[in-house]
């Protein structure tokens, strides 16, 4: 397995008004699975296609295991890619599809048959080897596409939304299988998805992309717990993080009728964005007092969604719809008032103008906290 180094990689499609990729710098270590997430059109597929050699960059460099890739045609790059639509060869059987990359590399028939069997075994395709792709279900096709990629050991795997054509149940099952298979093969991989759960479960590290740039690169935990920008914060997590733009005056944020002291060391003038995850919101009786320094509101319950393991409680603050996720079932009649509170350590602060994180999540504690009503 190899490491991939990307430096200053840029791409502007002919005729496009703005760059699709703006100077990407990225290192994928040997044996690492790096997930690229981002909204539609942010350039994820374009980045994969540049690495695969299916598209040419305008500038920058790509090195795989130290070898410069520019000018190397795709068939000589030793890169395997699983396409979103699988791109199985319709006139070939499953066996021939999986064996094709070996055949193209001059692997003899006997060795090829053995390797195809081995890959098929690993993917549970043993009984389907003689079928044509049109005779397979979506999940089976996906596995064949995986088989075609893993049958030779390429330097790097590229996955372009490999599960997006499947239904939710199958997706859940396959993402676990893919993650464990990639670990077992000790594979270097770049995995594109716009499903944030997939990103968290499959990746050793996650790169969150936006408008052709990498907005944040880090472990799933770093990206989730300390999002670098309000965009990243909003992108990862279900239900999504709630954000509220607030006015800051004399070290205090004016948040919907309450004055919240800013975390120590954080200086901002004018406006800031305050964000918290629904899972960090606690719901209690309205006459219960909140601990010192906590964000705390008395609100009316607008709706509840009991999901079994947890319940999503909907409320609104200053006309903004917000959510709290509480464990188990939650008994509350509609428009009953409750107190919602958030530990200041769980609050995220962002610059309202740039969207950048204002302070590390762990240092939000304000020792001499004051002023929750």
């Amino acid at each position: 397995m190899a490491k991939l180094e990307i430096e200053g990689l840029g791409r502007t499609h002919p005729g496009a008004k703005r760059a699709t990729l703006v100077s990407i710098d990225l290192r994928v270590e040997a044996g690492e699975v790096l997930v690229l997430v981002g909204p539609s059109g942010c350039g994820k597929s374009t980045l994969l296609r540049l690495i695969a050699g299916l598209d040419d960059p305008d500038g920058g460099s790509l090195r795989l295991d130290g070898r410069e890739l520019s000018g190397v045609p795709p068939q000589e790059r030793d890169v395997a890619m699983v396409f979103q639509g699988y791109a199985l060869y319709p006139h070939m059987s499953v066996r021939e599809n999986i064996g094709f990359p070996l055949r193209m590399r001059g692997v003899g028939a006997a060795e090829r048959a053995a390797k195809v069997e081995e890959a098929a075994e690993l993917l549970g395709l043993g009984k389907l080897l003689d079928r044509k792709p049109t005779e397979l279900s979506g999940g089976e096709r996906q596995r064949v596409a995986m088989g075609r990629a893993i049958v030779r050991r390429p330097k790097i795997f590229l996955f372009d939304e490999p599960l997006s054509n499947l239904d939710a149940a199958l997706r859940t099952q396959l993402r676990v299988e893919i993650a464990s298979m990639l670990r077992r093969l000790d594979a270097t991989a770049l995995y594109v998805t716009h499903d944030q759960i997939e990103a968290m479960t499959v990746g050793d590290r996650i790169a969150v992309m936006r408008d052709g740039r990498i907005e944040q690169l880090g472990t799933p935990r770093e990206v989730y717990e300390a999002p670098a920008t309000s965009f990243v914060a909003g992108f990862l997590g279900t239900p999504p993080i709630d954000q509220l733009e607030v006015e800051v005056k004399r070290g205090h944020a004016l948040v919907a009728g309450l004055e919240l002291p800013l975390p120590r060391g954080l200086s901002v003038a004018g406006r800031a964005v305050l964000a918290f995850r629904p899972n960090d919101v606690k719901v209690g009786a309205s006459d219960e007092a909140a601990p010192e320094g906590w964000l705390s509101w008395v609100v009316a319950v607008e709706a509840t969604e009991p999901l079994g393991a947890e319940t999503i409680v909907h409320f609104s603050v200053e006309g903004r719809a917000m959510r709290a996720v509480v464990p188990g079932f939650f008994d509350a009649s509609l428009s009953e008032t409750v107190r919602v509170t958030v530990d200041p350590e769980k609050l995220h602060w962002f610059d309202a103008a740039t969207g950048r994180r204002l302070v590390a999540a762990a240092s939000t504690r304000q020792a001499d906290a004051e002023g929750a009503p």
Binding site: Q75, F83, P90
Partner: protein, 296 residues
């Protein structure tokens, strides 16, 4: 389910059935009947049974015609299909220049056969034709393309190829464009260079298209008439007398309507077989067309 108005479908079909009956089926029956008579359009027809068929077969005329027509068809099919595929592969590229070439090549297909025939007669003229002039200027031997019985049929076949290749190209272009680009990309990543991508992806995907183009060209070649009527009138020494032209000649030159009708019936049976072949090719094309796997 029982239709409430069982006659309605037939009523709706009636107009086209009537046309079919008047212009195809009735003349066919008329031809079948006439083929059993000796008739010169002027005097009373005389019943001869299968005599016309017998004399066609025994004089060797029929065998000669079938052989020549199939030979002509073979040249048209092989060259038309190969050239059409080659042109489609070469011109399946973005850009105005390529679009211009595609349009120019296809335009030959739209021009009338008579115009094409006249154009090529002018180009191939043994005394002052373009080809002769150029050959003379280069000091090459000149050939009487249409005047020599050895070359006339091949020359007409190549003119036919020239005219119908544009159609073959367009069908192949459609076939090429139906191949999802991701298949080529996947094959490239699997290690296949340009030639092996053609061999393992393009060609298998185009097989049904090829069958379709080949049968269509074959049928077009069987219907060749205008080009022969204008360029050679079946000569020299009957070397370009193909089936349809022979039928025409029997009626309007030799005034042997019975014999012409017998030829027509034989030709009809031949075409029926070929149409069956075409239908079969068309069905397999639809059945084996790669299912669109890319979401739209």
């Amino acid at each position: 389910m029982k239709p409430r108005r069982p006659l309605d479908p037939y009523l709706l079909l009636l107009p086209s059935l009537a046309v079919l009956l008047a212009f195809v089926i009735a003349p066919l029956f008329f031809a079948a009947k006439t083929s059993l008579y000796r008739w010169d359009l002027l005097t009373e027809a005389r019943f001869v049974g299968l005599g016309n068929y017998a004399s066609l077969a025994s004089s060797g005329q029929l065998g000669e015609l079938v052989g020549r027509t199939f030979g002509f068809g073979a040249i048209v099919v092989v060259f038309g299909t190969t050239l059409g595929l080659a042109l489609a592969l070469a011109l399946d590229r973005p850009g105005r220049l390529y679009a211009f070439f595609r349009g120019a090549i296809f335009s030959a297909y739209v021009v009338s056969w008579v115009a094409v025939a006249l154009l090529w007669m002018w180009i191939l003229d043994a005394d002052s034709g373009l080809v002769t002039v150029v050959a003379r200027a280069l000091g090459l031997p000149t050939l009487s393309w249409l005047g020599d019985p050895r070359s006339a049929l091949v020359t007409i076949a190549l003119v036919t190829v020239w005219k119908i290749t544009g159609y073959a190209m367009v069908v192949f272009l459609a076939g090429l464009q139906a191949i999802p680009p991701s298949l080529h990309e996947a094959a490239a990543l699997d290690g296949a260079g340009a030639w092996r991508r053609f061999l393992h992806i393009t060609w298998p995907s185009l097989k049904p298209t090829t069958a379709f183009v080949a049968t269509t060209s074959l049928i077009a070649s069987f219907q060749a008439f205008d080009v022969i009527r204008v360029m050679t009138q079946g000569g020299p020494v009957r070397s370009t007398t193909l089936f349809v032209y022979a039928i025409y000649e029997e009626v309007f030159v030799n005034l042997r309507v019975g014999k012409a009708s017998a030829l027509t019936v034989v030709f009809f049976v031949l075409l029926l077989g070929l149409t069956g072949l075409q239908l079969w090719a068309f069905r397999t094309q639809r059945a084996s067309r790669p299912r669109e796997e890319e979401p739209a």
